[in-house]
């Protein structure tokens, strides 16, 4: 009778460890490639356009652009250093009601946000997020003025500036998408009535906006070189403008200098995205994307996003 083969535990352990390391590695790479957008020019362009199309949020769309390529600085830190610093005044005393959580404080916050919202919409209409430099500068300058007017103090910090800007961006998004009814904890009191958004008026209650890549052109080496030279000029202008603003402020200067990245661009593609509402195409926009390292970024210095703001 043939002797039963003995189960070799050690061999099993080695094989299982190696095979599973390969399988788990493969699953990780698959998950990364499917979810992470920056490795795909199409995904980056779609995400950039979709952020603007769905909620009119040009502010957060910049996270997919060259403004976010500086490896040492998050987009938020770039705004903090490049645009907020001149207005920060944390040594100034704050109005007495600040931090009390009182109804008065809430009312003042609401007043500031409402006044700033009108200003935000105005900026969106007349300046647009493509000129982020003017947008940020004008917005924060106005915020200081409005806070002083409503609070009666000169205090300002970056948290307050972000809160106001993000609240306004969110409110603008709700003006497009509509907002759901909000009920208080008692289950009865209506804190906020349901509102209909502009998109619902334009495209119907169950509207669906989709962004897809319709065409893609990879620039030849020569054309890419020309593109990169032009990009370098645009970025140099932005840095020079920033340097003047910085007036010797090291952090501010460094934030603007970080925009210079043309030398690291190793590929350029021109993508055409279409925005469809149901079956009909609402807009077509060209979005240039550039590759730095392995990641793709929208070249915000050469993009006209007007077509993506469908409600304007």
């Amino acid at each position: 009778m043939a002797k039963k083969k003995e189960f070799k535990v050690g061999l099993y352990a080695v094989i299982v460890s190696i095979v599973l390391a390969v399988v788990l590695g493969a699953i990780t790479v698959f998950a990364f490639r499917t979810r992470y957008t920056a490795y795909s020019p199409e995904k980056v362009a779609v995400q950039f356009a979709d952020t603007i199309v769905q909620t009119g949020d040009g502010y957060n769309a910049y996270k997919n652009t060259l403004l976010a390529q500086n490896p040492k600085l998050k987009y938020g830190d770039f705004i903090r250093n490049a645009y907020m610093r001149p207005y920060v005044n944390e040594d100034a005393p704050q109005a007495e009601f600040v931090g009390t959580g009182s109804a008065e404080e809430q009312e003042k916050i609401d007043t500031v946000y409402n006044l700033m919202y009108e200003y935000y919409v105005g900026l969106l209409e007349h300046v647009g997020w493509d000129d982020y430099d003017t947008f940020f500068t004008s917005y924060f300058e106005k915020l200081v003025e409005v806070r002083h007017q409503i609070y009666g103090d000169d205090f300002m910090n970056t948290d307050y500036m972000f809160s106001a800007l993000e609240a306004n961006a969110a409110t603008y998004g709700e003006s497009l998408t509509g907002a759901e009814e909000q009920i208080a904890d008692d289950g009865k009191t209506v804190l906020r009535k349901a509102t209909q958004g502009l998109y619902q008026q334009m495209y119907g209650a169950d509207y669906r906006l989709t962004v897809t890549v319709a065409a893609k052109e990879e620039l030849s080496v020569d054309n890419a070189e020309d593109y990169i030279s032009a990009l370098e000029e645009r970025l140099t202008d932005a840095v020079e403008k920033g340097t003047v603003k910085a007036a010797g402020d090291t952090a501010m200067l460094s934030a603007f200098e970080g925009l210079s990245c043309a030398g690291e661009v190793n590929a350029v593609e021109l993508l055409t995205v279409t925005i469809s509402a149901g079956d009909s195409i609402s807009a077509t926009v060209e979005i240039p994307v550039v590759r730095i390292g392995n990641s793709w970024y929208v070249d915000n210095t050469n993009t006209d996003t007007a077509g993506l703001y469908l409600a304007k």
């Binding site: 535990v9 099993y12 390391a21 788990l24 957008t37 920056a38 976010a68 998050k74 830190d77």
Partner: protein, 511 residues
């Protein structure tokens, strides 16, 4: 169901002082438990945030429906876990292989565990809420079942590693220590992975990747590979040496025993009455995000509490020398509720901002002290209840008693798993991030204050409720002394009879 006889159970024909395990085996046993805990120690809380905050971002799902779905998934998974533990216990009993009873479950179970754990973080690309909900139910229940099939047998390997009770005890102590290290080790990986990602991808690209939960996927892959390697080292090097003696225990019998013994019922009810004290664990991740700035810093938040628990264990032992188990239990519960209330009041006073970090961490240490009580005192009370039952009925039924208490404990754990996400995602008014590039949305002050309430005052209420059944517990004082003395006397008589019996037998043989 099987009750595993652990350290202290004498095995016939075994020399108690002989060492059976190679030194390397003691270490690799610990390495095995370290490996399992490396993955399973952090998975539940981080899976919850993955399902709620990352898996279906940008799909347009109604946040309130998603909140309910996540709460239900975890509640159901809690019950799946409880049932699985019972089933796995029975299956382990019936396992007969050359490798032993427990080892095959650990060695072969590690493979599906690693793969299923990984798949938990690979959400389907769907816009259908129904598909998403079904996927969450299936994948997390599957994970719960598979992790139970590996973790439970791994934890009871200590009972089988050596017939020498002393050697077994030290092996279990070392392995338990390494298991605790493993639980924190997984969280260290969750801190280290983002640091490496930031270095390789840049700050904003990391934020974008974090917004899609990719740091969790990589951390899981590392922990899963680590788990497999460590478990395989254990699998290759360790042996089962004790014949796996089991005591057949019926679930119905164990329930009957609990309900016919007032004191055991009261101890078991503490679990049910206090089921909500564990909700702090879930919200701690969000407190780490919004107070400390990163979900990876949950470890930093929980570290003072962990140290407090260790100190609490020492203090409980000290208190038990001075007071009865009942007084000690109540004392620590009152202390725990007070510490949590103080933390709540301080947090309210300071506000949810960076100034809160230091007082929060300090008070967190003091809040941890109460956990020493819940880890130690109920076990002593159960042992006392078993004495009481032996005194009344003449038989000692550890298996049934622990099984009954264990079932209450598992039901309570399932309820905690349902309550925690319900509070965090629905009651607090939590806002889900809808932007692909933003991991966690900004929350209102009201939501942040409710997070603090979930961490402090809500568990405090359950801590108070927890000691209510103990008010009716009476296996203390004169009664306990009387029973202990009577049992000691009875055992002495039994021992004397056992000594006389062989002498009588020898005499009759001579005659």
């Amino acid at each position: 169901m099987a009750i595993h006889k652990t350290a202290g159970t004498p095995v016939p024909g075994v020399t108690p002082r002989k060492k059976y395990m190679k030194p390397s085996e003691v270490v690799t046993f610990g390495i095995g438990l370290f490996g399992v805990a490396l993955l399973t120690g952090w998975m539940p809380d981080y899976t919850m945030t993955f399902f709620a905050d990352f898996a279906f971002k940008g799909r347009g799902f109604d946040p309130s429906r998603l909140a309910v779905a996540v709460s239900t998934v975890f509640g159901v998974a809690g019950f799946v876990g409880a049932i699985c533990e019972l089933i796995i216990g029975i299956l382990v009993d019936r396992t007969r292989t050359r490798l032993g009873k427990v080892k095959p479950w650990v060695g072969f179970g590690a493979v599906p565990l690693a793969i299923v754990a990984m798949l938990v973080f690979v959400a389907p690309n769907t816009n259908s809420f129904t598909v998403a909900t079904i996927w969450m139910f299936v994948i997390y229940s599957l994970y719960t079942a598979v992790s139970c099939a590996v973790e439970s047998p791994a934890n009871c390997f200590g009972a089988l590693c050596s017939p020498n009770p002393g050697e077994r005890s030290s092996a279990i102590s070392i392995a338990s220590f390494l298991r605790s290290v493993g639980q924190s080790g997984g969280q260290v990986i969750i801190i280290v992975v983002p640091l490496i990602m930031k270095l390789l991808m840049g700050q904003q690209q990391y934020k974008n990747a974090e917004g899609q939960g990719l740091d969790l996927i990589i951390s899981t892959a590392i922990c899963a590979i680590g788990m497999v390697i460590f478990v395989m080292i254990f699998f290759a090097n360790n042996k089962e040496r004790v014949p796996y003696t089991t005591e057949k225990v019926s679930l119905l019998e164990s329930m009957k025993l609990v309900f016919t013994n007032k004191n055991l019922l009261m101890v078991s009810l503490t679990k049910l009455f206090g089921f909500g004290r564990g909700v702090y664990g879930t919200v701690s991740l969000y407190i780490a995000v919004y107070l400390l700035g990163s979900k990876g810093l949950k470890l930093a938040l929980m570290l003072p509490m962990g140290i407090g628990t260790a100190v609490g264990t020492l203090l409980v032992n000290f208190a038990l020398k001075k007071f009865s188990t009942k007084k000690t239990y109540i004392l620590f519960c009152v202390y725990g509720a007070s510490a949590l209330t103080l933390l709540f009041l301080v947090s309210k006073g300071v506000g949810f901002n960076s100034h809160l970090i230091i007082p929060f961490l300090i008070l967190n240490f003091f809040c941890g002290i109460q956990h020493g009580n819940t880890n130690v005192t109920p076990n002593i009370m159960i042992a006392d209840c078993i004495d009481e039952m032996e005194y009344k009925r003449g038989t000692r039924q550890e298996g049934l008693a622990y099984a009954g208490y264990g079932l209450f404990s598992k039901i309570a754990s399932a309820l905690t798993k349902w309550l925690a996400p319900t509070l965090v995602y629905s009651w607090s008014g939590y806002q889900f991030s809808t932007s692909q590039n933003i991991a966690y949305a900004t929350q209102t002050d009201a939501t942040l204050n409710r997070f603090l309430a979930i961490y402090t005052i809500i568990p405090a209420i359950f801590v108070v409720l927890q000691f209510v059944p103990i008010l009716f517990y009476d296996m203390v004082g004169a009664k306990k002394e009387k029973i202990t003395a009577a049992l000691a006397e009875r055992r002495a008589e039994d021992a004397a009879e056992a000594e006389e019996l062989p002498a009588d037998e020898a005499r009759s043989e001579e005659e």
